[in-house]
């Protein structure tokens, strides 16, 4: 029976290799590893058993049959002659995910001085996979401390150390923006500097961008961004004027807004940034239900331009960005009714702002001067305001904003309407995921009516609002919002009012 099996195996082998009978070593040199494995036991050759096992082991290894490779390598008796087998067995066990055994053989490989850099790297990765981050870090540290000739490993070790911080702090739930800024990113940036021309640099840069955008909310944008949006909004605007509290002035409307915007950002070495934002909107506003016949449909366009120049680090030691921005907006609207309701609306502004870094907070302050030229010619204004925004961001899903503003408004044609305002807003934004956002905010303003103080006194404006936005896919989004506004004035009949606005919007956006 055995003879039959032997004969059939022999015949099969002869049949398969009848075309070009070759020796095992020739087959190996030609890369015919399957052939080597099939003939290793059936072919006559001058090779010693150690040589056969070595060739068979490497052949199995190169065919991804790591279990078989380990068997052949372990059969080799003269291990000092073939000292690379420890490394190969270590690699085989690494691939078979037997980490303890793999680590043992890589240590033996280091002891025989065969590929110590790669072996240390494997030990680092093995301990990283086992969750032993400090041990892993020590192995990577040895690679860059010893300064091995293969610069790829030194760079990779720095890279992995940076990622170890990320993994380690994530695992212990202690990851913060500070850890990312002080430990993770500097190490990754150092990895780039250690060998700036190696191909791994591209991967490290991508990791840095990924970490910045995911953990620090710093997205890396293309210098030029063109955006097209089409947006439909239906709102039910219900105003209760105090003079006639029982009769509301209901003017629900539909607004179709088609917009093009272009943003160009020029950033030089992250120290200076120039940003140009150009917007062009085509508006069509249609009032669906209106009690006041003088309320018209409007068609028109809005053109906006904003240029901002920012210096990120005006002082060498501190990250203290300051910026100067100038802008202009122009709106032209034609109504569908006859009469003098066509309007032009223009505004210009200049602002100077800065941002502090205080612990984990980044408050921004901006001083702004605006000129409004309104359609009636009666409400032209000059405003000087200072506002401060203080964001509290626990993570990208839970963000609070505190906004404070002091504004001095001067009405050019009707100076008696000039006023001073102080207002505060609290906004809470919660992202359920990358597609859904729920925002609540409340604003309280106190208005000093100055020349009309006797008649109107200090007026109070209260305005809470809630909104929900959801992205259906990359291009489509929809949202719901509700806003309540109440103004309290001493002259209750003329200047007090309540307003409810509920709106539903649906938009298409393409970048």
């Amino acid at each position: 029976m055995k003879k039959h099996i032997y004969l059939s195996v022999l015949l099969l082998s002869l049949k398969t290799y009848a075309i070009a009978p070759q020796s095992i070593s020739t087959m190996f040199k030609e890369g015919d590893y399957e052939g080597v494995l099939e003939l290793i036991n059936s072919s006559k050759s001058n090779l010693t058993n150690d040589q056969k096992n070595y060739l068979a082991g490497i052949s199995a290894f190169r065919l991804y049959r790591y279990d078989l490779a380990v068997v052949f390598f372990k059969k080799i008796k003269n291990k000092s002659k073939y000292n690379d087998i420890y490394y190969l067995i270590g690699q085989s066990y690494y691939s078979m995910e037997e980490m303890q055994k793999s680590g043992k053989y890589f240590k033996k490989s280091i002891a025989t001085n065969h590929k110590p850099d790669a072996s240390l790297y494997y030990l680092g990765m093995i301990h990283k996979e086992l969750g032993l981050f400090n041990k892993a870090k020590n192995y990577f540290k040895q690679i860059h401390d010893v300064n091995f000739p293969d610069i790829n490993f030194i760079q990779a070790a720095h890279h992995q150390t940076g990622l170890l911080y990320l993994d380690g702090y994530l695992k212990t739930k202690k990851l913060s923006k500070k850890v990312i800024r002080k430990k993770v990113l500097p190490r990754l940036e150092y990895a780039i500097k250690s060998a700036p021309n190696q191909p791994l640099v591209n991967i490290i840069r991508r990791d840095i961008n990924f970490i910045k955008s995911k953990y620090l909310n710093e997205s890396i944008r293309n210098p030029l961004l063109l955006n097209f949006s089409q947006f439909f909004n239906y709102n039910s605007n219900v105003i209760y004027q105090s003079i006639e509290p029982t009769e509301n002035n209901n003017s629900s409307s539909g607004l179709l807004n088609t917009g093009f915007s272009g943003t160009y950002i020029l950033e030089t070495d992250t120290k200076m940034k120039f940003e140009n934002i150009t917007n062009l909107y085509l508006n069509h506003q249609y009032h669906l239900e209106q009690k006041d016949p003088n309320i018209a449909r409007y068609d028109g366009l809005t053109l906006g331009l904003k240029n901002q120049f920012m210096i990120n680090k005006p002082f060498n030691k501190f990250h203290f960005p300051i910026w100067l921005s100038i802008g202009a907006n122009h709106q032209e609207m034609n109504n569908t009714l006859s009469g003098d309701l066509t309007f032009d609306n223009r505004s210009y502004f200049i602002a100077i702002g800065n941002q502090f870094h205080f612990w984990l907070l980044k408050p921004t302050t901006e001083l702004k001067y605006e000129i409004f030229e309104n359609f009636t010619g009666q409400n032209d204004q000059k405003n000087l305001s200072i506002n401060s925004i203080l964001p509290f961001s626990f993570n990208q899903y839970l963000i609070f904003f505190l906004i404070g503003e002091i504004k001095v408004s001067q009405f050019v044609n009707t100076p008696e309407l000039s006023n001073n305002q102080i207002s505060g807003t609290v906004t809470h934004m919660m992202k359920f995921n990358d597609h859904q956002k729920f925002t609540t905010s409340g604003t309280l303003s106190i208005i000093d009516t100055k020349d009309m103080r006797e008649q109107r006194g200090y007026e109070i404006l209260i305005s809470p609002q809630v909104s929900y936005e959801s992205k259906i896919n990359k291009y489509l989004n929809w949202g719901l919002s509700y806003k309540f506004e109440m103004k309290l004035s001493k002259d209750d009949e003329t200047f007090s009012y309540e307003q409810h606005v509920a709106s539903l919007s649906f938009g298409v956006e393409y970048e």
Binding site: E30, D32, Y33, G35, I58, D67, N138, V146, S176, P199
Partner: protein, 416 residues
């Protein structure tokens, strides 16, 4: 017997007799000549369309002693076979293999094989030619000798047109162990590149397009030995045996090549060639490097080859579409649970210029970590910020304590 001798022997008859140009030497399954069933010993003629069914193979011994084997589900047209040295075959779809003897006239392209998108000129050689009529990719793999290979814009060219074209200097010479094919996206032909040594040898042996004797064994698939972060080349351990200069012609560059000037490109060497689609599966970022052969060995993530037949086997539960993507055959519960994206392949020449595509990266790990982090933070809420500072200081102190002398650690390892 050469074609000329064959013709002289049959001159007695005045009528213009159509002479056979070949004879069926081997037949498996069902094959047809112009819809007539072929049998062992059947003759084939110029102008014949030879077609094979699923699991069928026909081997034709031509009058000039060449042997043409038509693989399953293939179709070829013997467009011109009139002399020893000016023969034209049109592969309409599928795979064919030809073993062509060097002709006595020493004409450069004694046999030309064309498809809709490429043509090859043969002197004496053994090669396999594939044309997929869905994605229009033609590919050639040379087992012995040299094949001239060129992209063409139409299959209407006749022998002399193609002979002229293939004699020009910009024709690629595909030598032993190399392949060349149309790029899936651009249709451009790549600089000849070495394929996987294992696949080359298995395909070379499998002259009759035999299927695996047993159903493809369920082999345990291990992960790649290449850990994230460094090029696969750095982890290669050179075998401790003397290897003389390899007979296989070395590649322009193992990592691949792309020239901005003339748009010539070559994918990284050592990948797998899929006979069904004609697509070349380039070594991925977890590939290992084989210093002896100067080729990469793709990781199991992008599939493997059947060592018996040389057939490319896509990753488990996926199939390779002619459009060049991996499509799940039937999503398994594990795939759903792990939400692992299918492997992707590079096709655009511009990707070939980036060497970092051959470095295994940490993307997946970061993504997994990120999800854990997001859910942790959402669960723990605002406590995160308040406890951070103290813990950072503690962790930093611990790290400083853990930093010890490098040489000391190496010595410790040696002692173990």
């Amino acid at each position: 017997m050469s074609l000329n001798n064959y013709a002289v022997e049959n001159l007695d008859d005045d009528t213009e007799e159509i002479l056979p140009v070949g004879k069926v030497k081997y037949l498996r399954g069902e094959a047809f000549r112009n819809d007539l069933k072929l049998n062992l010993g059947s003759e084939v003629f110029q102008g014949d369309k030879v077609r094979t069914e699923k699991s069928s193979v026909v081997k034709i011994s031509m009058v000039n002693d060449s042997i043409i084997t038509v693989a399953p589900q293939s179709e070829m047209l013997i467009e011109q076979f009139i002399s020893d040295d000016e023969n034209l075959i049109h592969l309409l779809k599928g795979v064919m293999r030809a073993k062509v003897k060097k002709n006595p006239t020493n004409k450069e392209n004694s046999l030309i094989v064309k498809s809709e998108t490429a043509a090859l000129g043969v002197r004496g050689t053994d090669f396999q030619f594939t044309f997929n009529n869905k994605n229009k990719v033609s590919s050639v793999l040379t087992f012995e000798g040299v094949v001239g290979f060129k992209r063409i814009s139409s299959s209407r060219f006749n022998y002399s047109d193609l002979d002229n074209e293939l004699s020009k200097s910009n024709t690629y010479e595909v030598t032993r162990g190399q392949f060349s094919a149309n790029n899936l996206k651009t249709g451009q032909i790549n600089i000849p590149t070495k394929i996987s040594a294992t696949q080359y040898h298995a395909l070379k042996r499998n002259q009759d397009f035999r299927k695996a004797r047993n159903k493809i064994k369920k082999v345990k698939i291990y992960r790649s030995i290449v850990p994230a972060g460094a090029p696969g080349k750095s982890f290669e351990s050179k075998p401790k045996i003397r290897i003389r200069r390899n007979k296989l012609k070395s590649n322009k560059s193992s990592e691949g090549f792309y020239s901005e000037n003339d748009k010539q490109f070559a994918p990284a060497a050592g990948g797998y060639l899929d006979s069904k689609t004609g697509i070349y599966i380039e070594p991925d970022s977890k590939s290992t490097y084989n210093e002896d052969q100067k080729i990469y060995t793709p990781s199991p993530d992008v599939g493997r080859v059947d060592p018996e037949t040389g057939e490319y086997i896509p990753p488990q539960n996926y199939e390779l579409t002619p459009e060049g993507s991996f499509k799940p055959i039937k999503p398994t519960s594990e795939m759903r649970r792990k939400r692992r994206p299918p492997p992707t392949l590079n096709f655009l020449p511009k990707n070939f210029s980036r060497e970092d595509r051959l470095i295994s990266d940490n993307d997946q790990a970061i993504r997994e970590n990120y999800n854990t982090y997001a859910s942790d933070v959402l669960n723990n809420g605002s406590n995160v910020l308040t406890t951070i500072q103290n813990e950072i200081i503690q962790q930093e102190n611990q790290n400083i304590n853990n930093q010890s002398n490098t040489t000391q650690i190496i010595i410790n390892i040696r002692e173990q």
